[in-house]
Symmetry: C2
Subunit: 336 residues, 2 copies
Amino acid sequence: MSSELTEPGTGPTGAAPTLSEVAKRAGVSSITVSRVVRMPDLVAPETRARVEQAMRDLGYVPNLVAGALASARTNSVGVLVPTIANSIFADTVQGLSDKLEPLGFSVILAQSRYDAVREDRMLAALLSRRPEAIIMVGSPATEDGTRLLRNARIPIVETWDLPASPIDAVAGFDNYKAGIAVAKHLVAQGRKQLAFIGGDDPRGTRRWLGFRDEALASGLAEPRRLILDRKDSGSVAAHARLPGVDAVFAANDAHAIGFMSGLRKAGVLRDGPASAQPVAVIGLGDLEMGQLISPTLSTISVHGDAIGRTAATLTLERGGERRIDLGFELVLRDSG
Amino acid sequence: MSSELTEPGTGPTGAAPTLSEVAKRAGVSSITVSRVVRMPDLVAPETRARVEQAMRDLGYVPNLVAGALASARTNSVGVLVPTIANSIFADTVQGLSDKLEPLGFSVILAQSRYDAVREDRMLAALLSRRPEAIIMVGSPATEDGTRLLRNARIPIVETWDLPASPIDAVAGFDNYKAGIAVAKHLVAQGRKQLAFIGGDDPRGTRRWLGFRDEALASGLAEPRRLILDRKDSGSVAAHARLPGVDAVFAANDAHAIGFMSGLRKAGVLRDGPASAQPVAVIGLGDLEMGQLISPTLSTISVHGDAIGRTAATLTLERGGERRIDLGFELVLRDSG
DNA sequence: TTGTTCCATGTTAGCGCTAACATGACGTGA
DNA sequence: TCACGTCATGTTAGCGCTAACATGGAACAA
């Protein structure tokens, strides 16, 4: 490639300027330009000024792809979430990138859409970009995915759960115990006919199991379980399918709020406190929205952004505790 | 580097296996392995099978960093949003990655947090990874940012607005007209004292301007404008700061719902239709939540995911219309 | 037979950068 | 004076892969 492609002062022509074009213009070797970019302290002030001027003249933007290949450091992390839209996982992504971006790491984002095949594909796609760590919601759904991650020899952080045998690091909470806590509370409130609504993804299922086990242990009948699509709108109609039920644990706040909307339409929602509700509703996630509606939503509060920030930390430091339980909190408001 | 580092059957040791290690094991040259990965049709079936076996044996994961450098194609797009948490932009990111991921593109995500300095930094960081396109919400806040993008010589898609002189492509809607539409509706409804609540980011400001101009043109007094933090909770208290106001346009649904919550606490929210509301409230975004609360939220409906998918399309095809107005729709429910 | 075409595979060079190791100029203390 | 350290800069090789151009054989028509 001819270096004459780029004429100074005329704006960019064909190709982006390279290190050695900057070097030539500044009258130094390319390694000196590289040092100005990465370790400016090692370069004499006058030389540095000359190089910086040349970079400005040419509009030089370092090529991290080449840099990554040469140095075997990509300064990137792969992030895999089921979905980012309309979900609390966005908080986790926000949290982790707030921590990683200032350190020069880029976030490569992939979505599995709760699909095991797509998850494996995305995992492979992420790994082929040689991220320095992978942060994912949950655990790989397949053996293949697990093997892929295990062989990658980079920090792997599983989040939003506490898997029994994690691949590497974990930042999450105990979904089973969350289910127990909700059931305990509803039993103490004198509720008799419990139900669970939500998806059947691994974490939702663990919430369900804790909820069911505790209800049974308390001598109640087995709670009903209504498996809903991702679309919240399904939960609006859920009430009609749960006759006789006097307490509902929704797998997340969106489902809970949708369900409450159905209750309102059916005329079984009061503006008073939990004790006045014909049907108690508890959510999970503690969306801000839950405090804005009436009645205010009781929920299991989980700090999605703290999970993200903790995951980022686990990514950076290899030593220390690799299993962080961020816990949860039952926040009681007016809905149940 | 010694290729003896990787012993077959013993799991991965030091370094990840390379193309040429696979080639050696399969008894072919490395270009043949490369072809098996990228254009399998060019390789004879028996050879292909042998190579595929070798890849499996070694747990080979292609190194796209090296591939990108050699081919000058990174198969990635940079995406810059103000924030991803708790926001409609998540829909846009979802929409565009749903379109791009199946095509083998990765999404590199960056957040500006509504901060011009951080935006420029993130833009430079994105460009140094040599994405094949940049999709951003809005337009660069600074001249530097604009220049950076202009010189990058890749497709640039600005979204969520219709800038007068875009850098390249646009997928959005007219925020000014949205403001007009809301004001027109409120005037027709007989409201007299309008107010606008929300942020002062460029798009929010354009909504405000349209809203104000239309109110003035209709002979109303200049509407009040309350600039709020990103935190929705601010909008709960907003009512107290707007005495006499009988109609509010909130820059987004989250603010609208927060404001309605404040109205409820103040006892100025009815369960009836819009005409019964002492204070009309219109949002923007059409969150699903708006239909679940009571009264249901009137809003400017904007399809965040369609914006994302359209932006992705603009990224892929260089010809054709480069300015797509996806419009908006005033959806009237019970809040105003 | 002798091109000619096609197919499967190989060789060579280099993408833009950085790690690791020179190099040479200049003090500095004994 | 000179061996030695220090500082600023340079040289060399190579990261793992792919584009572009060979190569050599089989198939086939004239």
